[in-house]
Amino acid sequence: MRFTFDGRPMTGEPGDTLAAALLRNGVRVVGRSVDLGRPRGIFTAGPEEPNALVRVGADPMLAATTVELHDGLEAHSLRGKGRVDLDAVDERRCDKGYLHCDVLVVGGGPAGLAATLAAGRSGARVILVDDQPRLGGDLLNSRLLLDGAPALDWVAGLDLPARVLTRTTAVGYYDHNYVVAVERRARGERLWHIRARRVVLATGAHERSLAFPGNDRPGVMLAASARAYANRYGVRAGRRAVVFACADSGYEAARDLVAAGVDVLAVVDPRPSGLPADVEVLAGQVVTGTTADEEGVLTGVQVGVRHFDADLLAVAGGWNPAVHLFSQSGGRTRFDEELAAFVPGTSAQAERSAGACRGLYATREAIADGYAAGAEAAGRTVPDLRVPECDERISRRPAALWLVERAPGSEPAFADLHRDVAVADLAMATATGMRSVEHVKRYTTAGTGADQGKTSGAVVVGVMSALLGAAPGQVGTTTFRPPYTPVSFATLAGRDRGALSDPVRTTALHDAHVALGAVFEDVGQWKRPRYFPRDGEDMEAAVRRECHAARTAVAAMDASTLGKIDIRGADAGEFLDRVYTNMYSTLAVGACRYGVMCGADGMVFDDGTTTRLADDHYLTTTTTGNAAPVLDWLEEWRQTEWPDLDVSLVSVTDHWATVAVVGPRAREVIAVVAPEAVELAFMRYASVPVLGVAGRVFRISFSGELAYEVNVPWRYGRALWEAVLELGVVPYGTETMHVLRAEKGFAIVGQETDGTVTPQDLGMGWIVSKRKPDFVGRRSHSRPDTARPDRKRLVGLLADDPEALVEEGAQLTAAGVAPMLGHVTSSYHSAALDRTFSLALARNVTPGDRLTAVSGDMRQPVTVVEPVFYDPDNTRRDGDPLPEARVAYRGDCRAESPAAAFADRFEAVSTPRVRLREVPFVSMWEVRGTDPGTGLRLGPDWWLVSGDVPPRPGWVDVSGQRTVLELAGPAAYDVLITGCPIDLDPSVFPGHAQTLLARTSVILERLPPETYRIYVRSSFAKYLAEWLIDALEAS
């Protein structure tokens, strides 16, 4: 395999990591340290690497010890810090996946494999994740024999009853056994979200170094890593080696290095006695320094007075159980004196550590512990699990040595190689009085590097304990936080980027708006046309033209985004009386009334119109942004405070497409599209044919002009809009709507209000009933603070300069100096007034007062006026009479399903493994209260009935509310688990569920064996269609 390092061509072997391949090519210096710029070499063979950090393509910083070599790989060295290559093209397609299991095993070494076997054989659903391309853990690096054969033969002979994910690193352990893991796949990483009933951590141990002078030279390497390069990759990390063995694993490394042809000069063992070995053993001694050539590369090892010409110093400082995930789970570690290491103490979750990660380093011990942990996690013991024989020697207690005293003038002794933190830095920290390891970490930055202190953490604690004269257990560790290894932002984002970065809602009219060249704005998740520019108009010109049309002729807006709630039941009127400030139980059938809803704190929460469709049937509209919060709020009061009321709430926001027809000549349009509604009186409603289909027309005005809100089921929305525009009606957007309403002094919830404004503050005391015994928020209106006279109130403002647009948010002052009297909430150019105007909230002001609006460097003299700027006597609301008889619309009313435009693309991405299509025009009803005996049960007293069924009284037609997309085929499940967090395994999934898919609310129905129907809100259908197409392309 060919690759380059800093532009130099090299070759490696299949199975090499980049680090192994660099060593194979004799590369000693792989980068410079972050702070001091010292040359550094490969130090480890795993994710704990502090030195060998490289840039590969768009990845600014990866550990060369974790990068799998591939042909053509181009790697660049770093100076400790990542560098983003702005020219790099990131072609990865990362995504997410959700998995559920009885037992999750983390780590595929001896303990993890044994746990998987024991748990899986007992019938539990098991997932095994391991970060290496092959299972085996440390067995991959060793020459141990199990039952007399190479250990990997034992691994290969295991028939693992589990879903096995290799190349998968568990990086985070969160509440309620939620483990996040990164799988490195050819096309890009997948971020797995795994919910496990129980977790077995078999994460192994990391070898540690110790602080001695010159311990950072290229050529100084952890002993087990040198052994791994020799055994697993057939690479000698040096020719002449000294082994510094604080633990007996150093002897095993020495033996394996000799076997690999390395000339091992000596084993230096600080303990009083050494082990028998084929090489010289210097017991009771330590490495006191190193020498280097002019490039800083190791040339020799000093042991007291002895000097060894060596190019490899293999350091076996002892072992640290990898307690990272255990600690992230909330478990508390304790210091084990015998092992001289922190080990898992008290668990906080349904979790158990097994093998080396709890200090059981011997292979047979780890396997036995794995069997026990697997059986315990599955809740059942399986017979016939045998621990294989092993030729391993029993290890003695390691030397609890952290630090070798440094002679004056010698090289620094490093504790943290990545952060360039030396013993002297730690000594400075403790000398200034720091005692907490957390303080020392922040002061010195030890442990904050890309490796998060995996090789340095124990050294820092050990050095601090020596400096402070305290036991390591008293010093304690810093907090282990996710992620265990660095995770790129691309991985975290997955497919949630670009057009899919956030769910988007569109109306039935959306494609028509796009065709008209609308400029959109985001309102919550909705895309709403802000204005419709013509012939290169800017916004101001377009809005002026649109306003002029609405005030002098007729204009139309897509009002489909307003929330619509169908409210039914004998107590529906009573319910509305309690949640709105005004009365609804007395409203006549067929009449509409505007209402304001307050929170319990008495502040305006939402507003809208409510229409009485029948005695026990109302339709309430909400603001666009508040549709979901209002429905949730009503549901809260219905369920938790007034369960005795007979009332039910059904969202029909997406069922209806709404076109507001506005202007003195609006009647001419209604005469064509809904002739039976032409005589409708102000604030009245009619259920009439619209373009020949069953629709609803409301005479409601938010502009002061004659206006109708014309509703048809979603599928006819586009036909209605196009029919209206064909009559010469001018389309307008939200900006014009805002100007028209502000000219009339109508407040917008969320613009004039901010959660601290009462209806009285808005000058709407008239809408707060004095007759009703109670409503939500009523008592708050007589609280001292809400009742005080000097509250900010809604006023109008006119700037002295009629061309000057006072900035929204500008502060109002008496003469440009404090105190602030209020702020500007809305500011527009008005075509009707031929000047600018503003709305504001201000205290202690009356019309005629002179104020100064202050914003940044701007000082604008303004005069306070009444907040109604246009037609204060409401003379315009009935518009012009119909000039002549009109001919009703005779075209056909074309139905269009929400995902109709996707049919070809669905077809194109479908494969024999997974097919995607829309099931159009499905009739659907929501049923509340009594079990209809058919359909999908959605809640305790809530059903969705669909298909060719005769509807019964009380069923709410929601055929347009949801769109049905169908995913079928053997790979449908694999697509769904990339966006649906619930357990879809056929053994668990009940057949249907309401949940999330791609961050949208859906009903998911499984038609066995492998077809899934997705019922999604129609406004999300386009977004979900794009998401599914993207998922199919990626699968």
Partner: protein
Amino acid sequence: MLLIDCPHCGPRDENEFHYGGQAGIACPTGDVTDEQWAAYVFMRDNPKGWFHERWFHVHGCRTWFTVERHTVTHEIRKP
């Protein structure tokens, strides 16, 4: 990501729910003093330990229900 046991749907991820604050806060009726009313509107317990709280299964069955959660360990038990 907490796992919350909906009485209708079973255990689901936390992000399917809306948090509803302390459970068992009754809306006072009749004549109440300003202080009593302010206590209802603004004041909630904030214990370190077990806490009765409401959750709303907004992306599922839309049921309001109460759970008992330990505010330190996030352990959840049915009240």
